[in-house]
């Protein structure tokens, strides 16, 4: 790395420190958006920004009179709802909305277009109605010159919630504790600059070459800033989920971009239970019996994937929860007493209880290696100083600091690594940090739509 990489890394740390100072709240795992059955969206322009200081004219769907959003508002509806979306156009060109995978879409008003009816500039709105027949993750997008208008930002996600709360689909195989959206997109700034300069006739779709990559409309490290961060008025959605060990996160992946993206979940495989808004079942009612576990999910443009992720540390071969009970430790006075058992089967009664979700086989097993002297190591901002979950260790001054609960941080990112940059600065782009905290740590706090946290859990 030639200097700028280091700067970028410290830039990430600095940016995150700001985030933490401002919010003092760990990101949680909940999807924010608009709930209801009737939505008024307005297509308008705004400027999106990137962490390297870039600012690009974009088009976005706004919630009524609100700012243009990149992506548009996440529409959260319930299975069976008849949903109405009224689109008002404040742009200077026709726009529209299509809802791939939605049944019985009807459009009223506006003018007939290739994909659907379109809202003309400064004319009456178009009303789209559809039935959210099946639970799952969907997208909406412009059906007018999509190669240009999706690039400009006219897309968003739709969450159709199952009639059974806490399930992705109408099957208990899809139960989850928390959910999060990962809406992927790319930006080719040349097109945005041409549009800003009124040079639409110069836009050549065949020369499209993105150099900015985003999750939920932000490039890392902005992905880790809070929802509705005031300095990102047109990019309201963050992407920094957080669960406790043993909890199940529903990952709602949607690729609004044009390129395939291999989405890699560090920390574990995830179990894909749905694609394109359909439960992966062999026959209706079978449950998710066609589910597959993958460590890198191939995200096809236009596709959505619903996948379940959990983390327990099982099989690591040492006590990742830090119970060094069998080594050099004096038991308490009442040891052995009721409940004191040999969890890991090594013939020694353990005096420390197991954590919920902890694997018995690894309970009490020592950390397997000696770590080098700190001067031999470089430390990450998300390193707690301890290899154990939920513990903080000694770190040299100025190191760490982004992980106050001693969680395990995992990079979740496009494994096309060139998409993990902001132009020539690494890390950035289509990347975020996902954090697992210890059971009972209160790590996963649901967030209100305004971005404030709901205490207690």
């Amino acid at each position: 790395m030639i200097g700028h990489g280091k700067n970028a890394l410290s830039g990430l740390v600095a940016a995150l420190a700001v985030v933490l100072l401002l919010s003092a709240i760990p990101a949680s795992a909940a999807i924010v958006g608009l709930e209801g059955t009737s939505f008024n969206l307005t297509a308008k322009a705004g400027y999106i920004t990137t962490p390297d200081g870039g600012s690009y004219l974009s088009w976005g769907y706004a919630n009524g009179d609100g700012p243009a959003q990149y992506p548009g508002p996440t529409l959260i509806v319930n299975e069976g709802d008849t949903v109405t979306v009224t689109l008002t156009n404040e742009l200077a060109t026709n726009v529209s909305m299509i809802f791939p995978g939605m049944a019985s879409v009807t459009a009223k008003g506006g003018k007939k277009g290739l994909f659907t009816r379109e809202a003309e500039p400064a004319k009456n709105a178009v009303t789209y109605t559809f039935v959210a027949e099946k639970p799952g993750t969907y997208m909406y997008q412009s059906g007018t010159r999509p190669e240009l208008q999706i690039e400009m930002g006219l897309f968003g996600a739709i969450i159709v919630r199952s009639a059974t709360q806490g399930q992705a689909y109408d099957s208990e195989d899809t139960a989850y504790d928390d959910e999060f959206l990962f809406l992927l997109s790319e930006v080719d700034p040349v097109i945005h600059e041409q549009m800003e300069l009124g040079m639409e006739n110069m836009v050549d779709n065949t020369k499209w070459e993105p150099v900015i990559w985003m999750i939920n409309g932000r490039s890392a490290p902005d992905t880790m800033a809070p929802n509705y961060a005031p300095w990102l008025p047109h990019q309201p959605y963050n992407c920094m989920p957080n669960i406790e060990a043993g909890q199940t996160l529903l990952i709602r992946l949607a690729n609004a971009g044009r390129d395939l993206h291999p989405f890699h979940t560090h920390g574990n495989h995830s179990t894909i239970v749905g694609r394109y808004g359909n439960l992966l079942e062999s026959v209706p009612g079978a449950g998710a019996d066609l589910a597959v576990e993958e460590f890198t999910v191939q995200m096809v443009p236009g596709s959505t994937v619903d996948s379940l992720f959990t983390w327990t540390g099982e099989g690591i071969g040492w006590d990742v929860y830090g119970h060094q009970s069998d080594i050099n430790v004096e038991p308490l006075d009442d040891f052995p007493g009721p409940g004191d058992v040999d969890h890991n089967g090594d013939g020694i009664v353990d005096w420390v209880d197991m954590m919920p979700h902890e694997s018995a086989a690894d309970h009490g097993k020592p950390f397997p290696v000696v770590l080098p002297d700190p001067t031999d190591l470089a430390f990450g901002g998300f390193y707690s100083g301890s290899p154990y979950l939920g513990l903080l260790g000694n770190l040299p001054p100025g190191e760490g600091g982004l992980n106050p609960k001693g969680g395990f941080a995992y990079m979740w990112h496009s494994h096309t690594e060139k998409e993990m940059v902001n132009f020539d600065i690494f890390p950035g782009g289509m990347m975020t940090m996902f954090i697992v905290t210890a059971p009972g740590s209160g790590g996963a706090m649901p967030m209100r739509a305004d971005g404030s946290s709901v205490e207690g859990r």
């Binding site: 920390g267 460590f295 190591l377 290899p387 890390p427």
Partner: protein
């Protein structure tokens, strides 16, 4: 891969104790949670647990030790172009750090040395950062990321932002159990876009317990014989194979490598790969056993030791362990004259949670970076001859500006008895 059984180094583990799990948050404020540290080199403890975890009948050989250096070196593309790389080289057996630095410097190989384990084995993987000899201005740390390791602990996950990375001149030992059979991969995660484009990428796979079953074990009607090999613990012999080949899809952007060697600004977002390769070579070098000369520039080390020539006797079941670790694009890889049966994805047998069989036949697979599939080729009805594994992104049948090359190798089927 060698097994090393060195004397166990002093561990000196520091205690950490807690009353119970739920008091943990309070407890962590009081106790140090950092294990002991020391100036350490290779750590390779003997297997003294008295348990035969790899099911080979021996109780004392389940620990596997490897020693890798991370540094720089050179490869030669199939059109003759020299490419400066970062990667790993195999120092297994070398404990003396001066010796390790001497042998590891400017000796990188691409792809990185293949790691394979038998299920039940424990890997102590020591990484020694020997520095980039031809880039003395760089002081980059390095890591190993075992890509796909389930339930990974962040300390051994190799993501520098989330844990630790090892500085120049020092060693860090990673510990992994073998988490389940299948095809994984490994790479450095420091400045991942750069270090991976530069070549810090390797094959990694795990052999299943099922290989070790007693002779004549019945697997749902399939009779296991000693020395039978399987891709997974399938329970029915359906992943049986005669020969297997790890093949990693990858590609280089020559402008990036040249800029790195020339200490020039690196093109990140505009990275464009021009050399599409299998196991670090473009066709026709993909089929040459020793075609890549030992480069003078590479400390006498054969920097591209792994070909991807698939050789089989008619009737063989051939297992291809396909992974993709390029950092710029997806590739589709096809086979001529026969079909592939896809039996695994991302180190998981293709079965649903209730056991439904999801294997499928195809002529090509499409992989992005960080994806892996296991495919079987059944050569029982394939006439002897030469077939091909090639990318149907046909413009990548090029070694940059040279034609008839790129991401392609041969499958040579010879007549049986």
């Amino acid at each position: 891969m060698k097994k090393n059984r060195n004397k166990r180094k002093e561990q000196g583990m520091r205690d950490t104790r807690f009353a119970s799990g739920l008091c943990l948050v309070a407890a962590l404020m009081l106790l140090s949670a950092t294990p002991a540290v020391a100036n350490v080199g290779v750590q390779c403890p003997p297997d003294t647990d008295g348990i035969d975890t790899n099911m080979d009948g021996l109780v004392d050989n389940d620990n596997v030790c490897m020693h890798l250096s991370a540094g720089d070196g050179y490869t030669q593309m199939a059109d003759g172009k020299l490419q400066y790389i970062f990667s790993y080289s195999d120092l297994t057996g070398i404990e003396d750090m001066d010796m390790a630095l001497m042998q590891g410097m400017r000796a990188a190989v691409f792809p990185a040395p293949t790691i394979y384990l038998r299920e039940g084995e424990k890997l102590y993987l020591t990484l020694t950062n020997v520095g980039m000899m031809d880039r003395p201005d760089l002081f980059d740390p390095h890591t190993v990321h075992w890509h796909g390791y389930p339930n990974a602990a962040s300390i051994f996950d190799g993501v520098p932002d989330a844990s630790i990375a090892v500085n120049m001149g020092a060693s860090l030992t990673y510990f992994y159990t073998s988490p389940g059979p299948g095809t994984y991969m490994y790479h450095c995660h420091v400045e991942a876009t750069e270090h991976m484009q530069m070549g810090m990428l390797g094959n990694l796979y795990i052999l299943p317990y099922q290989d070790m079953l007693p002779d004549l074990t019945d697997l749902n009607g399939f009779t296991h014989h000693t020395n039978n090999k399987y891709a997974y613990n399938d329970g029915d012999g359906s992943t049986y194979y005669d020969v297997d080949f790890p093949i990693q899809l990858g590609s280089f952007d020559p402008d990036f490598h040249d800029a790195s060697m020339g200490t020039e600004p690196l093109p990140f977002a505009l990275m464009t790969d021009k050399y599409a390769m299998l196991n670090g070579r473009g066709y026709p070098d993909t089929v040459g056993p020793d075609r890549i000369a030992t480069l003078e520039e590479n400390n006498g080390v054969n920097s591209q030791p792994l070909n991807s020539l698939v050789e089989a006797t008619q009737g063989d079941k051939v297992l291809l362990r396909l992974s993709n670790l390029n950092v710029t694009r997806f590739y589709t890889l096809a086979v001529t004259g026969m079909k592939m049966k896809v039996i695994g994805k991302d180190a998981k047998l293709l079965r649903g949670p209730t056991g439904l069989n999801l294997y499928y036949d195809t002529t090509s697979i499409t992989l992005g970076g960080g994806e892996a599939v296991d495919v079987l080729l059944d050569t029982s009805t394939v006439p002897p001859g030469t077939y091909f594994l090639y990318t149907t992104n046909l413009n990548y049948l090029s070694n940059d500006t040279e034609d008839f090359g790129g991401m392609m190798t041969e499958i040579r089927v010879t007549a049986g008895d």
